[in-house]
């Protein structure tokens, strides 16, 4: 502070240098043990220490430089109260942006140079877009903090795998069943816990997610336990399987085209795109209906809702069930795409990633969720070469994005209903609900 009162660039630089020195000292404290001394298991089984002082010095220098840059060029958090003008401009841009994004998604498989790898990545991103939109119903619209969303994803995936394995049902019959079963689980979980407030709800949903995973892991006779379930049937094009034989009964044979393994990938791509768009369409439509308005009202003020005679319990349950249903669809899709599922795919970290996508997308903004999924999952793939470092980068990115843009990437949205003309408002005006 005193450096500022002296004024001038010199004082500012001195202060920044002092600040950076403190940061480097803290970094030294953080890294001297955890990085400087590496424990290795020696062949005899005992632990031996390996010293790595150069790395510690490098890290401290890095922190020093980083802190200096941040103080001097001032990366500051974006203020919460975004001006309405800017929000309106963003909304106009968003109006153009969403159709463009959709068009790009629709033509992606036919763009030259898009191979199997890119399509697989597209499928992965779209799966997270769909999960994000599904969770958005619960967290973004109804304001219920759900940390166990992956449980419904798991229920959907295992529903399809089990129904196909034990009853031989096809994907197209199992898809709605998986959704219904997941919705049923959503109600089952939701019923007792909806009396809970905010963070209590969060921890119970987290616990529920873990319970489902532990049961899947230990019920070996039904689910195969940690070995998972393999040989899950691949989807068919309305009864026409994808294979390389080119016989009349297959997709390629029926349409008289050359069999190509990419056909199935393209089909899966459009399948998940369709499912994701269905989620989006249902959400947008429901937001205009009484139940959707009740959700948003509930997010803003639960007590007012009670006073107005809204049935809070049923409103919350429908949000839970609907969100769970889309999670179940996505799960069934995941199972058919992978052909193999195991409890490892349904850990807490998945729930955290989906929630991060919703929050980074700007809570309740449909386009925002899509953008956040592309940024997070696509970015995660970009850092593929970093191997074990990429999860570190991923976590750090979550922190940095939150610190710089606490309202998410798309920080504005149009109110669903308004008196007179609709105007975009800053996200700062939208409460996040205390559910």
């Amino acid at each position: 502070m005193s450096a500022f009162s002296q004024g001038g660039a010199g004082g500012r630089i001195t202060a920044a240098l002092r600040d950076a020195t403190i940061a480097a000292a803290v970094a030294f404290g953080l890294f001297v043990v955890m990085v400087g001394l590496r424990t290795d298991v020696s062949p005899t089984g005992a632990l031996v220490l390996r010293e790595r002082w150069t790395e510690v010095a490098m890290l401290c220098a890095l922190v020093f430089a980083g802190r200096l840059v941040v103080t001097l060029w001032g990366l500051r958090p974006q203020s919460l109260g975004q001006s309405p003008e800017r929000a309106a401009a963003m909304a106009r841009a968003g109006k153009l942006f969403a159709p463009l994004l959709l068009a790009a998604a629709l033509v992606l498989p036919f763009v030259p140079g898009i191979g199997r790898y890119e399509l697989d990545l597209g499928i992965l991103v779209l799966t997270y877009v769909m999960l994000g939109w599904g969770l958005n119903i619960v967290v973004g619209l109804a304001g219920l903090l759900d940390l166990g969303y992956v449980a419904f994803y798991a229920v959907g995936a295992y529903s399809y795998a089990l129904l196909a394995q034990y009853f031989g049902l096809s994907f197209w019959i199992c898809l709605p069943l998986a959704g219904i079963l997941a919705a049923f689980w959503g109600i089952l979980l939701g019923f007792p816990v909806l009396r809970l407030r905010g963070d209590y709800l969060a921890i119970v949903t987290l616990a529920f997610g873990e319970i489902i995973r532990i049961v899947l892991l230990n019920w070996v006779s039904l689910t195969g336990g940690p070995n998972g379930m393999s040989g899950i049937p691949r989807p068919t094009f309305f009864g026409l399987p994808f294979n390389m034989s080119g016989e009349p009964g297959t997709f390629a044979g029926f349409f008289g085209i050359e069999p190509d393994p990419v056909h199935r990938v393209v089909f899966l791509y459009y399948l998940i795109l369709g499912l994701a768009l269905l989620t989006n369409w249902v959400t947008i439509r429901i937001r205009r209906q009484p139940i959707g308005r009740a959700w948003e009202a509930l997010r803003e003020d639960e007590i007012a809702c009670r006073a107005l005679g809204i049935n809070v319990r049923n409103t919350k349950l429908t949000a839970f069930a609907l969100g769970a249903m889309f999670g179940g669809f996505a799960g069934a899709f995941f199972a058919t795409r992978q052909g193999f599922i195991s409890p490892e795919s349904f850990t807490f970290i998945e729930s955290a990633i989906i929630l991060a996508i919703v929050v980074l997308g700007g809570m309740g903004s449909q386009v925002g969720v899509a953008v956040a999924a592309i940024v997070m999952i696509g970015g995660f793939e970009l850092f593929r070469d970093l191997e074990e470092w990429r999860m570190l980068v991923f976590g750090a990115a979550m922190v940095v994005i939150m610190v710089l843009r606490p309202r998410g990437l798309v920080g504005s949205r149009t109110p669903t209903i308004a008196l007179g003309e609709k105007r975009a408002i800053g996200a700062g005006h939208v409460s996040e609900g205390r559910g």
Binding site: V26, G29, L30, V33, M34, L37, R38, T39, D40, V41, G45, L47, V48, L49, P77, L80, V139, L145, P192, V193, R195, L196, G198, D199, Y200, A202, I203, V204, L206, A207, F208, E210, I211, I214, V215, L217, N218, I303, F348, I349, A352, L355, A356, V359, L360, E388, W389, M391, L392, G395, A396, A397, M398, V399, M402, V403, P406, R407, E432, R434
Partner: protein, 304 residues
């Protein structure tokens, strides 16, 4: 009977460890109203610092015995406290006054960062250490079955009680404790009355992390292994304990920790080990349904 007594001893010593971590959760929740998701990973970092210090002291032949354990404890507390401080400074302080989910996401991000930082810097393999505290005293004998209170369990219970006594004194008798309680009641008002709230919150994280380091050192000595993922499940259970006891209530956290430890131990002893976590979480759900504010939690009066 003897078997049950042994489980009681095991359960209490495990529950003490959960209780220590739960205090960290409940303190942070009480003071800034957020779930500090990275707390479980702070515990994990504490275990690694203790592990490294232990290897350095004991395998290096510098010292061993009680003095070494005490020194390891002190080293772990100091470095882990620094981690606690840094996490708050980097990931939570910039988001103070922001909307409620932002610090939660930032905390989850921080938890991922800490886990993977340790994985990168220390390797993914579990690190075993040799047991340092061996033996115990025989309490009773029933046929073949011997009920034993091991020295390790005595160490856990003794250290935890000492840490809790110091902590209680800190919260109830010192100016810092008064400032913490003031911040918990009304942060804005405390600030107006001249309390440096940022500093108080930082110190809350430091104390929470130091308690987690005590728990981590004891856990490491008791179970003899550390890995980068150990913080998650222990953290979730400690948070469950905090919620069970009524989040924001310090005695509640310890009580909740003891209950979770006992439930887990007895469930593993009499039913199945695989489903012990299911038991702990189900108890949590049931408690919350019937006692939505936990065992010792205050009923919030909501003003409109």
């Amino acid at each position: 009977m003897a078997y049950a007594l042994q489980q009681l001893i095991n359960g209490i010593s495990l529950g003490m460890i959960y209780g220590l971590i739960a205090v960290g959760y409940t303190m942070v929740y009480g003071i800034i109203g957020m779930i500090n998701f990275a707390h479980g990973d702070i515990f994990m970092v504490g275990a690694f610092v203790a592990l490294i210090a232990m290897v350095m002291l004991v395998s290096g032949g510098i010292m061993d015995g009680p003095a070494a354990i005490l020194l390891v404890l002190a080293i772990s507390m100091a470095f882990t406290a620094l981690y606690g401080w840094t996490v708050e400074r980097v990931a939570y302080r910039p988001l103070r006054g922001s909307f409620r989910l932002a610090p939660l996401i930032s905390a989850i991000g921080m938890s991922i960062v800490l886990q993977n930082f340790v994985q990168v810097s220390q390797g993914a393999r579990p690190k075993p250490i040799e047991p340092q505290v061996i033996g115990g005293i025989e309490l009773m004998r029933e046929g073949e079955f011997v009920v034993q209170l091991s020295y390790m369990q005595m160490l856990i219970i003794g250290t935890t009680l000492a840490a809790l006594v110091v902590f209680t004194w800190l919260v109830t008798k010192t100016p810092l404790g008064r400032a913490m309680r003031a911040c918990e009641q009304d942060r804005k008002m405390a600030n107006l009355l001249g309390i440096d709230t940022d500093r108080t919150i930082s110190l809350t994280f430091v104390i929470g992390a130091a308690l987690a380091a005590v728990a981590a050192t004891l856990y490491l000595l008791r179970y003899g292994v550390a890995d980068f993922f150990m913080g998650f499940i222990v953290g979730v259970k400690a948070f469950t304990a905090a919620v069970l006891g009524g989040i924001g209530s310090l005695p509640g956290a310890v009580l909740g920790g003891l209950l979770i430890g006992l439930i887990e131990t007895f469930w593993s002893a009499y039913f199945s080990v695989q489903y012990k976590d299911v038991a702990a979480f189900s108890i949590l759900a049931l408690t919350l349904i019937f006692l939505p504010t936990g065992l010792l939690g205050r009923q919030d009066v909501e003003k409109v």
